[in-house]
Symmetry: C2
Subunit: 275 residues, 2 copies
């Protein structure tokens, strides 16, 4: 089995490391130094900066930033056969799936729920996906054999699979992932002077703000691509915050306690510790 | 040395455990069952539900919820001498210090930067304070020997000490602790339906929302007591979020990337990883 991975960043290189041994990996990256490094490290069997290197692959994985996925697909499709299964690893799905499906007969979108703040080849690791979930987003147009091959690819990487339609994925991820990142990012507006009090930062601050260190380019693309789900959530959140502001300002302690209790209850239920 | 601890919750009982061996601890709690449990566990040498048990102590620590601290101080002061050092463990300081200083000649406010989501005696632990910071908030009126004795108390618990005036403490904690809690709490408004997708929640969501499980009564009191610092921060935060909303809606990708980069830079600088 020959697999081409386009984009040897955190996700692409971690996939190459996870699949090594189960498949022959061709790595394609715009940066020739990354390709050479991956070859030197034995992470890929062959490598190139040219999409033509994906020819004759059984499967092609596009692991580039969200805003470049469709362009990369259009280019690599010229080099591969109609039986080559094609997938991506983008954090948004509806627009990407709609556009690539129009070009490829064997495309199924994927989103592995794994990652960390530090992007890039240097931070890739063989066990990044172990025990994680991958969402795949087949549609009514997806060929069953292609869905099965993408499923099998992710299982080989060590992930479990959940399937949902692309729009459901984007609506869900806006809540689970995109809003927490946006809210944590924005909180840094308040934190500009805190470096002089660094030793006072507790575990609460550390964890709440951890994702504010995430890759700005990756998240610019995600917020932009999924804006139709994110914008109304911002409005709901602002409304809730201003409601809390009113309760605090007017010293409505009973209502404030009720609100905080309901939040705590939701969080505890999510992680199986209701009180 | 005889130390009375009023309130055998997470903080008070953890102090009792940390000080055991260095001092003879009297535990006072409104709940007689908690007092009995602490006696049975050997966490305190003597215990009572009556403030009078604090008489003849060298030091008294008030470790009750923020909104009860001043009342507890007023009551215990009737039983102790003017040379008994008095401190509290509240997460807000300006109002508490101002009011207790007017009643006691040897009071110095404290705030140990330690804790966890689960309150109560059952979750107390001997090493809760080890390596943590305690902020003490002496004022121009504080007696030097009292400041030294409070410092020594916290050092015996294993914490390092930072001293600042009460208002600076409250302004700083609004940013470091109170706003992150409020923002994380409010995000649960978006998460009500997520329990059916529990297995898709990643590390980002988990850490961002961890403090949303915090004790509602404790945080009701903190938000209420420190409202003068929290309300303007809510306004600044909402303004920033609506600015981001505009950038996303209008697809101003360059400005959005610049904003996200500056947030990520602030977070990375805080934790010593600038990029």
């Amino acid at each position: 089995m020959k697999i081409a991975i386009i984009g040897l960043g955190l996700i692409g290189a971690s996939m190459a490391k996870a699949l090594r041994g189960s498949a022959t990996i061709t790595g394609i990256d715009a940066d020739g130094r990354t390709v050479r490094q991956a070859l030197d490290d034995g992470v890929i069997a062959s490598g190139s900066t040219d999409m033509a290197a994906a020819a004759h692959s059984d499967a092609v994985v596009i692991a580039v930033p969200v805003c470049s996925i469709v362009d990369a697909a259009a280019e690599v499709i010229r080099h591969i056969g109609t039986d080559t299964v094609l997938t991506d690893t983008g954090s948004t799905k509806a627009h990407i799936v709609e556009r690539i499906e129009a070009m490829s007969p064997c495309f199924v979108g994927s989103h592995p729920i794994a990652g960390k703040e530090n992007p890039g080849y240097a931070h890739s690791q063989e066990d990044l996906f172990r025990g994680a979930m991958t969402i795949i987003t087949p549609t009514g147009r997806s060929r069953r054999d292609c869905v099965e091959r993408v499923t099998s690819l992710w299982e080989t990487c060590g992930t479990r699979i959940q399937s949902m339609d692309p729009l459901t994925h984007d609506r869900l991820m806006a809540v689970i992932s995109h809003m927490p990142h946006l809210l944590s990012y924005a909180s840094m507006k308040l934190a500009d002077e805190l470096h002089i009090h660094r030793q006072l930062l507790g575990a609460g601050f550390r964890d709440f703000t951890r994702i504010a260190a995430s890759d700005p380019i990756m998240w610019r693309d995600i917020f932009s691509d999924n804006r139709e789900h994110i914008l109304p959530l911002i409005d709901t959140y602002v409304q809730e915050l201003l409601h809390l502001r009113t309760l605090i300002e007017q010293d409505r302690t009973k209502d404030l306690e009720a609100a905080l209790s309901s939040y705590a209850q939701i969080r505890r239920t999510l992680y199986g510790h209701p009180r």
